[in-house]
């Protein structure tokens, strides 16, 4: 039945599965500002004090990673998931439960090389199951389902004493003293979080151009068409949740180490919403966005109380500031701070363009 009647013709060759000559692969060129920022971050311990390293940058990188997992789902998959903080929190809880904590009667004291991978695995499984529930819905319903599960998880950790130790949670959850380093010291912790954040950023950037990442963006733009090309749309969406959950889980483990404790408040609804705010403020179109959002959030969160007190206002008003910032960003730039930046760049470029209306300077 299969006959070749167009040998020699390019189209005929393709359709008959003939091999063809190769073409350069997908190359990504990193811009100069990237190297400048990377250099600055690497020498940061020479410039910044311990408070900045541990509290401001460490926390920003962690929140950025958790928000990055949301960016991956929302930006590339078109799925706004509010479960990412719960996945991170579950990983943090699992490290406390399987490893060592101040709650000796619950914690299992597994060695770090066992409890960390198992914690990430359990969190990824949880994220995958929630994803499997959520991908059958679209838009607002995805948000509602993931928010409902996040709320259920919060109440479960608060009421379950057998595993999650209820209201109290776990304290004295510390990173393993690997290579004789106390990883909670500001400088090691800074490099640990910087390394994890850089790795996850690189992973997301890389995967976005892999067959899986491209297919995910195809599913976002046209699920019907993807099915008509032979892709199992549902399976791709669920796999995206698995991938994102691994990144969130690593962020969650770093978070529990930073605080040295975890309790239901870590996975509360306000924090779940904060992750969404961070991702949206930074921008969900590019993987760097969530980190920019996280830095803005942490700076506001850390320094606005001082400013507010100076003006005679309650420190709790910082939420009003973040809320106002969120409203302004959503109103003026749906693509977040990055969107503002890109628009400004485009306008500057246009002004320099001799063919544009501005003429050359």
């Amino acid at each position: 039945m299969v006959q070749i009647d167009r040998s020699g013709d390019p189209l005929g060759d393709i359709l008959n599965g003939k091999p063809a000559q190769t073409r350069p692969g997908w190359l990504v060129q990193l811009p100069l500002p990237f190297w400048a920022v990377a250099f600055l971050l690497l020498i940061m311990p020479l410039i910044a004090n311990n408070f900045w390293l541990f509290q401001v940058f460490g926390w920003s990188f962690i929140l950025g990673m958790i928000a990055l997992s949301l960016m991956f789902l929302a930006g590339y998959g078109g799925m706004v998931s509010l479960i990412q903080m719960s996945v991170a929190g579950l990983a943090g809880y699992m490290v406390a439960i399987l490893g060592t904590s101040g709650m000796a009667e619950i914690s299992l004291n597994w060695p770090w090389w066992l409890n960390i991978p198992v914690a990430i695995g359990i969190a990824a499984l949880f994220g995958t199951i929630v994803g499997a529930l959520a991908v059958r819905t679209e838009g607002i319903y995805t948000i509602m389902i993931t928010l409902a599960v996040a709320a259920a998880f919060f109440y479960f950790t608060r009421q379950n004493y057998g595993i999650f130790n209820g209201y109290t949670g776990f304290n004295r959850v510390l990173p393993p003293p690997l290579f004789g380093v106390n990883w909670r010291d500001p400088v090691p912790f800074y490099y640990l979080t910087l390394g994890c954040a850089a790795l996850s950023l690189a992973a997301v950037t890389y995967v976005a151009r892999s067959p899986f990442g491209l297919a995910l963006q195809g599913v976002r733009d046209g699920p019907r068409r993807m099915a008509a090309l032979g892709f199992n749309v549902t399976a791709h969406r669920i796999a995206a949740y698995t991938f994102a959950s691994v990144i969130a889980a690593v962020g969650g483990i770093l978070l529990v180490w930073q605080n040295s404790q975890i309790s239901p408040g870590t996975v509360g609804i306000p924090v779940v919403i904060d992750i969404l705010v961070i991702a949206v403020v930074g921008g969900v179109k590019r993987p760097i966005g969530p980190f920019i959002g996280a830095v803005i959030y942490v700076l506001l969160r850390t320094f606005s109380p001082d400013v507010l007190t100076a003006f005679g206002l309650s420190t709790e008003r910082f939420k009003t500031l973040i809320g106002l910032g969120f409203v302004l960003i959503v109103f003026f730039s749906p693509d977040g701070v990055l969107g503002l930046w890109e628009r400004w760049q485009a306008r500057r470029h246009k002004r320099r363009d001799p063919l544009g209306d501005g003429g050359t300077p």
């Binding site: 039945m1 299969v2 006959q3 070749i4 009647d5 167009r6 013709d9 390019p10 189209l11 005929g12 060759d13 393709i14 359709l15 008959n16 599965g17 091999p19 063809a20 000559q21 190769t22 073409r23 350069p24 692969g25 997908w26 890389y206 995967v207 151009r209 892999s210 067959p211 899986f212 990442g213 491209l214 297919a215 963006q217 195809g218 976002r220 733009d221 046209g222 019907r224 068409r225 993807m226 099915a227 008509a228 090309l229 032979g230 892709f231 199992n232 749309v233 399976a235 791709h236 796999a239 991938f243």
Partner: protein, 264 residues
């Protein structure tokens, strides 16, 4: 290796590439298509004609699995695929183009074609970027050349002209190893030159690839099809060769009447 090609075996088993039996699709009380029965041989090229609302696109959607038919059976190369999800039918060699472009506007032309090549290959879930030697990358490049889109391969699809988007639609349908293609009005909105190119592409397809083409332009339809199915009000109205259909008085009265005059 030489004697057992499972593809040819399965098509030999039933003798037909596509077989529809009593396919009916109801939307509420409205029957978009009712009791459609016909079959297409492997390698056969057929045109489906009919006025707007005759049920042509619904028929395509039932064949590809976008909709499940209300009743009836659909067999693809001898296999009953009536309840299969769309992607399972595609993996059996079925392809389609869409009347309204369903392309990935946020991705480049090259990415669109590459995704299409991946769709029917293994490693759809690969997290590793394609290497330079990835044969699919080269395959995508050749497909773009075949539909004359190489020059715009890095352009975002949302920035392509309408004609270029139609060409890309065809490239996506040709990716992988298609055995049977459904073309949904591929010539709609094309310029006369683009139409000539389209006819050349369709007539140049390898002989083992059969297709069904929905086309309003009789000049295109009758030049690329060896058999014709006329649909009217969701039912098969007439079947025959292009010459028979053209000369059939009932068909002329019903459909060709105004159309043939306007085409001169």
């Amino acid at each position: 290796m030489t004697t057992t090609d499972p593809r040819s075996l399965s098509s030999v088993a039933s003798g037909n590439a596509l077989e529809l039996r009593g396919v009916t699709k109801l939307f509420g009380a409205l029957a978009a298509i009712s009791d459609v029965t016909f079959s297409v041989r492997p390698g056969e090229r057929r045109a489906v004609l009919g006025s707007n609302g005759a049920g042509k696109t619904t028929l395509f959607n039932c064949i590809t699995g976008d909709f499940l038919p209300t009743s009836g059976t659909i067999r693809l190369f001898g296999e009953d695929v009536t309840t299969f999800p769309a992607h399972e039918r595609i993996r059996r060699g079925l392809r389609r183009t869409y009347q309204i472009s369903l392309l990935f506007g946020g991705l480049s032309v090259a990415d669109n074609v590459y995704i299409a090549c991946r769709g029917v290959s293994r490693a759809r879930f690969s997290l590793l970027r394609p290497r330079r030697s990835d044969p699919l990358t080269a395959r995508a490049a050749e497909l773009m050349e075949a539909v004359r889109l190489t020059e715009v391969q890095d352009t975002l699809v949302s920035e392509l002209s309408y004609g270029q988007q139609r060409q890309l639609e065809i490239a996506l349908a040709l990716a992988g190893a298609p055995r049977f293609i459904l073309f949904d009005e591929p010539a709609a909105g094309l310029s006369p030159t683009e139409r000539r190119d389209l006819v050349a592409i369709l007539n140049g397809l390898p002989g083992h690839i059969g297709y069904i083409i929905i086309e309003h332009d009789m000049d295109v339809a009758l030049r690329v099809a060896e058999s014709v199915t006329m649909m009217h009000n969701g039912r098969v109205f007439k079947e025959g060769t292009p010459a028979e259909i053209e000369s059939d008085p009932e068909v002329q009265e019903l459909y060709l009447g105004d159309g043939s005059h306007s085409h001169g």
